[in-house]
Amino acid sequence: MKRLFMLAALLSLVLGVGHALAQAAPNFDDPAEFAKQKANLTAAPANPSDPIYLQHIGTDMVDTAKFKKPAPWTLCFSNAATDNPWRVVGLKNMQAQVAVDKANIKDFIVTDAGGSDDKQIADINDLLTGKKCDILMIAPNTTAALTPAVEKACAVLPVIVFDRGVTTKCPLSFVHPVGGYGFGIAAAEFIAKNVPKGGNVLALRILPGVDVLETRFSAGKHILTDAGLNIVGAEFTGGDNAKTKSIVEDYMQKGKIDAIFMDAGATAVAAIEAFEDAGQPVPVITGEDQQDFLQKWKADKLTAIAPTYPNYVWRTAILASEMVLSGKPIPGPEWVLPQPSITADTLDKYINTSMPPLHYAMCGCEDFPDYPARWK
């Protein structure tokens, strides 16, 4: 008994200390970044006549003449994971671009870290040991953890980081769409425009602690509370359809829901079905550019918007690498790609009923010769 008591005391001490210290830690609510992304959402690209996956917002470039190498090149890529459909479609985009440019690319080496930081560090080490890479592209699993490995790579190779960033300035360029705050802003502004003050919003989130998702919700929360809307709940669905449906059903019993804010579109259709099954009208909803959501939106004539975190960033990474190895300057140290949202006006352009349900419409891949077969 005494031991149990001691143990409880120790545990609470440890947790208490830890918790107190945690209060001083930074969080995902950076007003400077918020303002920057808000501006970038509506900014015009510097090269509007180029295809969208080559456009960049801002005019800073980096010189790459010293990295020029004769083709054919070996491109290396350390992938964080292919554990969700967005990444699966993304990798296909990369492979399609490599196939189109195969005259210049003799080898495309890909390592997959299966979602583990530890493994990705080991993978990058492996790629460096192999000494075959002319350039290294990295899609980091998490921001801080990969920094030492990236710095090690920068010392010997040109490095392109895309999707998620790292906390070092050594890579040539960080290629990314506008960002998480932008996604949240687009979704929340739509809700604020369509729901009168005092309305109830249910926020459905995938996972806690993922920086690219936390920024979406933090931005959305600002805009929704500023517009006088109540966030009745912010629930984590884990990306699970059944759980999403259960949560929505339970919240419907608690009170009226005027809008659903989602930080990713994976379970949007499940949320819509929860209303359908209950015989209730579907409220204002934000999703993402997955085909199943877009098709349901059109079929049920919903009031919705699909902000995107465009999948063409994967394609841009390959193109950026090729530009570096040809000595052409690329936007840097950051290459900010446009991040359009799909609205009721542009919906028809993006719907394609023959594509799989979790295909991302904003993939920028329609002009590939093997489209749509590769993505089916």
Binding site: V17, N79, I109, N125, N141, A144
Partner: protein
């Protein structure tokens, strides 16, 4: 041979020797495949000193955790709370250090205390409340996860550069982490082989009731072994905090350290029912996993096919020597 000599020298049957050496045989096969692929595909740089050290260094976190897991599996127990505990340890270390090298020692102390407390809790629930170890540690895993969630919305703390020596420092040509691991394994082997605690673990694992009747304080042994396991998981968390320069609440789950540490221990010849096996088998198991990963990278295997093959390999590796066993297996 006189009668006295026969009685004094216990014969080790071929079956027992096979079971003991089987993990080593598997390791040799894995090394051979790795070498063959490295040389055959024209990438001999992977057989260089750097390459080989790279393979060995791949799975330090898993290795440290597996040493602890071996202690409890030898008892006939199990611990699936290690993954969340690793995350908790990394987050706690990162938060306490908060970028300040002076706080490294307090952080290490706090993390070890955390490991001690969780191990004590596990051991008490299993020994005193007699809850099945799978359920007890599953419950503890959920409780630790709950505690972790409290830190999740803040990307907690920062690891100072000085602490990175643990994971990235070198002593001569070898990484410090590899040396640390080697010393740890040696210590564990000494404890298991030469101390009373070690032999008690084997006794309790072999037959709990017989051990109790023989005068061993089985509850104390169970609690101590779980404390060892959890403290080692905490050390693995420290290592990861150093390697990833941050403490993130999901690194334990992402690395699947719970199921993998069990898998490598069993592949290494320690049976789940307890009483048989040892540290060297576990080390072989960890190396086999590293080699499998390295081989997959060398051959550029598709990520999904990797999954399929991993599952088959785990079962095949255990079946390799389990099939000869005469025990009834559930």
């Amino acid at each position: 041979m006189s009668l006295a000599e026969t009685v004094r020298r216990p014969t080790v049957s071929f079956a027992q020797r096979f079971e003991r050496l089987a993990p080593l045989a598997l390791l040799v096969v894995a090394v051979a495949i790795y070498a063959a692929i490295a040389l055959g595909s024209g990438q001999p740089q992977y057989m260089s000193f750097d390459g080989v050290v790279g393979v060995a260094n791949r799975s330090i976190a898993l290795g440290i955790t597996a040493v602890g897991q071996t202690f409890v599996i030898l008892l006939g127990s199990i611990d699936i709370s290690v993954a969340n505990l690793i995350s908790a340890a990394a987050v706690l270390a990162s938060v306490i250090m908060n970028g300040n090298p002076a706080m490294i020692v307090p952080a290490i102390a706090a993390v070890l205390v955390l490991g001690f407390v969780v191990g004590l809790a596990n051991g008490l629930v299993i020994a005193r409340l007699e809850v099945n170890p799978l359920i007890a540690t599953l419950g503890m895993s959920l409780i630790v996860q709950g505690a972790l969630s409290a830190f999740i919305s803040n990307f907690a703390g920062a690891v100072p550069d000085a602490f990175q020596y643990f994971a990235y420092g070198t002593v001569g040509p070898l990484p410090f982490s590899l040396l640390f691991y080697a010393v740890l394994v040696l210590l564990a082997w000494v404890v298991l082989r030469f101390t009373k605690f070690g032999s008690d673990i084997y006794s309790v694992g072999g037959n709990v009731d017989a051990a109790r009747l023989a005068g061993i304080h089985t509850n104390r042994i169970i609690i101590r072994a779980h404390i060892v396991c959890s403290m080692l998981a905490a050390v693995a968390g420290l290592y990861l905090a150093s390697r990833l320069k941050s403490g993130a609440p999901w690194i334990g789950k992402d690395g699947v350290y719970d199921l993998e540490s069990i898998a490598v221990t069993v592949i290494g010849g320690t049976i789940l029912a307890g009483g048989r096996g040892g540290i060297w088998g576990t080390v072989a198991g960890v190396l086999i996993f590293s080699l499998i990963d390295a081989i997959f990278n060398l051959t550029g295997t598709d990520a999904f096919l990797k999954q399929v093959l991993r599952g088959v390999i785990i079962v095949a590796a255990v079946a390799f020597y389990a099939v000869r066993s005469k025990r009834i297996v559930a």
